[in-house]
């Protein structure tokens, strides 16, 4: 690992850390070392869970109105709670990103409790060193863009649900989505290396590299057509109105 790469890796790890989460950097790439939670964290989390989550997910996470989450693991809990998707007011509505309802400490406690219920996946480690932008782009276009769009701006997936924009998503959140398959999203079963390749490309898209000018939302021909008609045709009609005004002093004529 070159020095520059190491610095880059540390910087990238710092992104989710500032988002209020604790990431334990794993020594070997592709391995997620589960974080150890203390008994007091689990206990505090259990109280929070029973107050805020049990009405849907059951007293011990066995499910009810909501799904059984005993095998959801720290990854799903971290994904759902830090992005504000859980708790959800209306169990029939799609969970969307909003301000988290809990403080960072409380989130850790809740994650500790959910993780203690079973053997679900741990919070993954994102390590972009050694990844290749091109590999990530190819996998993203084949697997992610059919729902999230080629520029990760989101898309409609039918039956009232939509694939959200990935632009506000921190790398670890993207990784957790791939592992846990939240909502309508399938669990892709990618290994850690593949996930890291994809996240590399998502971060590239998040920087909005827009050769050619303003991207008009990056969702293809619909806004392009609208801009062409409104700006292009609109400007030309105004120009025609301006030029087409008859000038009284110009020499007129009659032809029969």
């Amino acid at each position: 690992m070159t020095r520059a790469r190491r610095v880059a890796a540390v910087l990238l790890l710092a992104v989710p850390a500032t988002a209020g989460t604790k990431i334990v950097a794993s020594a070997a790439r592709g391995q997620d070392t589960p974080r150890r939670y203390t008994q007091s964290e689990v206990e505090a989390g259990r109280k929070l869970f029973q107050a805020g989550c049990a009405s849907c997910h059951g007293e011990d996470g066995e499910g009810g109105l909501g799904p059984d989450i005993r095998e959801a693991g720290a990854a799903a809990a971290h994904f759902q709670i830090t992005t504000g998707r859980m708790p959800l007011a209306d169990p029939d509505a799609q969970a969307v990103r909003k301000e988290p309802a809990y403080s960072d400490t409380q989130i850790d406690q809740l994650i500790a409790y959910v993780a203690s219920l079973g053997n679900g996946p741990a919070i993954p480690t994102v390590d972009l060193s050694g990844t290749n932008l091109s590999t990530g782009a190819e996998i993203f276009i084949a697997n992610c863009s059919p729902c999230h769009g080629a520029t990760a701006n989101g898309g409609a997936t039918g039956r009232g649900s939509l694939a959200p924009s990935l632009h506000p998503s921190e790398p670890v959140i993207v990784a957790e989505a791939m592992i846990t398959g939240p909502g309508q999203m399938p669990n892709f079963g990618f290994d850690a290396a593949t996930r890291n390749e994809i996240i590399r490309y998502v971060r590239f898209l998040q920087a909005r590299p827009n050769p050619g000018g303003a991207d008009l939302g990056g969702i293809g021909p619909v806004p392009e057509g609208f801009a062409g008609l409104a700006i292009g045709m609109g400007a030309l009609v105004l120009i025609a109105l301006f030029i087409g005004k008859g000038r009284a002093h110009a020499r007129g004529g009659v032809e029969s």
């Binding site: 021909p221 045709m233 008859g246 110009a250």
Partner: protein
């Protein structure tokens, strides 16, 4: 110099007559010129693009400066568009000007056609030019679709797949026709080079030929004109080609070019590097055609998946919205001058244009048609509307299924009533009424000033 040419070609009289051709003063008469000038810009930028584009589906490994694609297998066509976009000097801006101009070109043709329709400029003796205009519209859409397909990116590949499926759905001949046009089963390699020939040779030749006839007929028949002081069925009042109209048209040409350059330089269009190279097993979303094909896509999305079985013959679902309905609509559009003459019984020559309000039925049908196409076009972007307005995509489709019939009827009836109310007045529907200035007389009465 002039003498030298004149002594050899003897065109003086002809030229003098041409230079004195009269152009009526009305801004809407410039819409056809905008169509012409956008086409000129398309030819100019298109020649530039042709110098670098390779119509070749052979797979190559991309090794250019755009890192997310480096090392991926792409077609030679896609690779050449990437090279054009990132390595050829001014290549990207030329591509973008070309694409924006294509979008505006079809729009200008449509708006020009609407002006001709609503003012009755298609009536005898101009039915031929109307038919040529309908042909030009069809070829313009064909130009757009073939051009959209050339880069061989994922988005355009999906468009080709839809075109192929629609061709397959034609009863009896469909599979043969699709195979003949694509040169085998989709995705056939031959299609890229065939589209290229259509896009840069066949269709431009047809369009240039038809424009020439369109203009020759215009000169021969002279301009129609709006009613006004001194204007009769037997004259044309306006400004001569030289000098007045020449400078107006030149100004319009340059301003059109500058609008297109402005859009091409500042607004990104069709970023094929985001979509990636075409692969038959991948589709991306949202995935739409350019706006002028959107109504066809909308029809396919709107129509329920009914495979109709008639006397043992299966009519596949895409046939009705993809072939039958568009075919009938364009036939209706082309035959409109003759249908109207039959209904009104008016077969006389007309040089003076109608005020739309004076022909309420025609105006109402035109308004209904605009709404009909708008609903189909919006449905073509149904999934984008879904994410933009957070409405389930099925709800949007169901709404448009009803709206496709209700809204045009409502728009037609409303337009009819508005026309009736405006008849006999000179009120402008979009401007404030000027009113009448009154003066109070000594006797206490009022009189107009």
């Amino acid at each position: 110099m002039i003498k030298w040419v004149e002594s050899r070609l003897r065109v003086g009289g002809w030229a003098r007559k041409g230079l004195n051709k009269i152009f009526p003063d009305h801004w809407s008469f410039l819409l056809g010129e905008i169509s012409l000038f956008t086409f000129v810009i398309l030819v100019a930028t298109g020649i530039f693009l042709t110098l670098f584009y390779r119509p070749d589906a052979t797979p190559v490994i991309y090794d250019g400066p755009y890192l997310p694609l480096k090392g991926q297998e792409v077609s030679a066509a896609y690779e050449s568009v990437m090279r054009l976009s990132f390595e050829v000097r001014a290549g990207l801006v030329m591509r973008q000007i070309h694409h924006w101009t294509a979008i505006v070109f079809v729009a200008a043709v449509v708006v020009h056609m609407l002006r001709v329709f609503f003012t009755g400029a298609f009536r005898r003796p101009r039915e031929l030019n109307w038919l040529i205009g309908v042909g030009l519209l069809i070829f313009a859409i064909g130009m757009g679709f073939t051009g959209y397909s050339l880069p061989d990116d994922l988005l355009s590949g999906n468009g080709l797949r839809i075109a192929y499926s629609v061709m397959l759905s034609i009863p009896f001949t469909g599979p043969y026709l699709a195979s003949l046009i694509f040169g085998g089963e989709f995705p056939a390699e031959a299609i890229i080079s065939r589209l290229f020939v259509m896009h840069i040779m066949l269709l431009p030749a047809l369009i240039i030929g038809l424009i020439s006839v369109h203009l020759a007929i215009l000169v021969r028949q002279k301009h129609a004109q709006f009613r006004g002081p001194g204007r009769t069925e037997r004259n044309v009042v306006g400004k001569p080609l030289w000098p007045s109209q020449t400078f107006k048209s030149l100004a319009l040409l340059f301003l059109t070019a500058s609008v297109m350059a402005f859009m091409g330089g500042l607004l990104q269009i069709n970023p094929v590097w985001n979509y990636g190279p075409f692969k038959p097993y991948i589709t991306s979303a949202p995935s739409q055609p350019d706006w002028y094909v959107g109504w066809l896509d909308g029809g396919l999305r709107l129509f329920p998946g009914w495979d109709i079985n008639l006397f043992g013959i299966t009519i596949a679902a895409p046939f009705i919205p993809g072939v039958l309905v568009p075919g009938l609509l364009f036939t209706f559009l082309a035959l409109w001058p003759f249908l109207e003459a039959r209904w009104t019984g008016d077969r006389a020559e007309h040089q003076l244009l109608d005020h739309p309000r004076d022909m309420p039925l025609r105006t109402a049908i035109g308004a209904a048609g605009i709404v009909f196409f708008t609903v189909l076009t919006l449905e073509g972007g149904g999934d984008v509307l879904s994410i933009t307005f957070d409405i389930p995509v099925e709800a949007i489709t169901n709404f448009f299924r009803v709206a496709l019939f209700v809204l045009p009827a409502a728009a037609g009836m409303l337009t009819y009533r508005i026309c009736e109310n405006l008849q006999g007045t000179d009120i402008h529907p979009f401007r404030r009424a000027r009113g009448v200035r009154l003066r109070r007389t000594r006797e206490g009465g009022f009189e107009e000033v």
